[in-house]
Point group: C3
Chain length 207, copies 3
């Protein structure tokens, strides 16, 4: 609120690194959106997600190295590590969801899964928009409130999907396969919420 003098120059490149990581998640959720609806391109799309996930790993480790080599960091070192790890967890869950569809040989997916992915796309967009705001620490509450809201939506949708899975329409083996995928999508939503929690922690310390 009040004017504050920054006595030490702060390494600002972290903002760019977090923004890039979150923008990768926008790309990943878009690919996953296509993957869910398209049958024929699944192998190719899963391959691109795998590449994105590798790129994400590199980016995460670049952030870790930067933490180690920076004399001053814009926020607590452990929060930087946590934020990078949680963004990486989102990517891991997205890539795993696609891979599990392939390795369980699932065909057409329930419509609720397309809706799960649409929520993940929203989460990715608001996350990517919020990362540059870490610099000013302004308007971050809007972001984490929106992610919490989206995660609540995702929870409800996940329950609706479970309800359908156990409705009698599917046999035990199909339920098992579909649950593998649904659980990863749910994990991706949870991981987006964890990212928001870290941002909230950073903002709380700064306030």
């Amino acid at each position: 609120m009040a004017f504050r003098l920054r006595l030490t120059p702060r390494d600002s490149s972290f903002y760019g690194m977090f923004t890039a990581a979150a923008e990768n998640l926008v790309t990943a959720t878009d690919l996953l959106g296509q993957f869910v609806h398209e049958h024929t391109l699944r192998e190719e799309l899963a391959g691109r997600l795998r590449d994105l996930e590798h790129a994400g790993d590199q980016a995460t480790h670049a952030i870790f190295r930067q933490v180690n080599s920076s004399f001053v960091t814009p926020f607590d070192r452990e929060d930087i590590v946590a934020l990078a790890s949680q963004l990486d967890d989102v990517m891991d869950a997205i890539e795993a969801a696609a891979d599990l569809v392939l390795l369980t040989h699932l065909g057409t997916l329930p419509a609720e899964m397309g809706q799960q992915v649409a929520l993940l796309q929203r989460c990715a967009i608001v996350t990517a928009e919020s990362m540059p705001r870490l610099r000013s620490m302004k308007d971050l509450a809007d972001y984490w409130i929106e992610v919490n809201r989206l995660e609540n939506e995702a929870d409800k949708l996940y329950r609706r999907l479970l309800s359908r899975l156990y409705s009698g329409e599917f046999d035990a083996l199909e339920i098992l396969k579909l649950k593998e995928v649904a659980d990863q999508l749910e994990e991706a939503a949870d991981a987006f919420e964890h990212v928001a929690h870290v941002v909230e922690t950073i903002a709380v310390k700064d306030s």
Copy 2:
């Protein structure tokens, strides 16, 4: 140990907020206890658990807002956030367990599930009793030792339940459904232990 002068007034309303959140868990585990044993009232009891869970969400966010607006907090801001989040996680798991029973259309539940819920009731009671003691930081070790003990009991019980599920008495579909519920009850026990871990962390920092 030694006499310590408090130089700053500390905002004490957090104690009341945590106590209220933990008392909500006592109510929730009592409702879940009825839910497990009664067939006819399940829809109504699940509805009341849903209302409690919403109230819990409000309470959690009230704590978050309080953290942001308080100039001085009685313990580290991030521990307050963690404690509120973990208490919320317990409520979420309890509400989810009841909802999953309804949406998988389960009838009579194995006796072991009633025992799981009885352990959760004990966890809720000792947690609610300990929250006011955060003010004095006295006798908290008794609380977390007891919760660790109860969580160990819950683990053993969960294994006994799994052993029964795989005994040949149930088919794959029934096992899947019962496991959905059992896993949520186990998650609630784990979340109680996480609450105790946060309290331990707070006490360790204070000591």
Copy 3:
């Protein structure tokens, strides 16, 4: 990097306690290796793992007590608690995996499970080797990079196992049982990675 004067004597017994806990994990993963391959000795080996797990619980609580009674600790109290907890989580998952094999009455296990356990053995060895290095804070990056690599391997192996489980070779009930065990082994690998993350956090704060 630079020469640093230690103004306070630091309690060094934590290094020994962490090393002992990690060496217990080397023993546990060795027992699990035998367990996976031998049929006839499973009851006995599971009993020995149960004893080790109890010993691990004692060791964890000894570390917690030491944190409380030490005036000065070699690194942040909450990181000591986190490190002890995560080492304990590895042991819990290993013991659970063996117990689940017994209580689901599984016979010969897929070769991929033996490979999962071999990776856990590697994780345990590099973890036990790194613990004494917490004293000097030297060469720890090698350790956590190696654990991250092993955990990536474990992820790939887990996926390969899932792919086999859903290949049509197994029925739904067998898949359920095998997944219980595979998930615990995967959890053990994740827990080793969490140990490495705590070590990384400690090293980052120290740097």
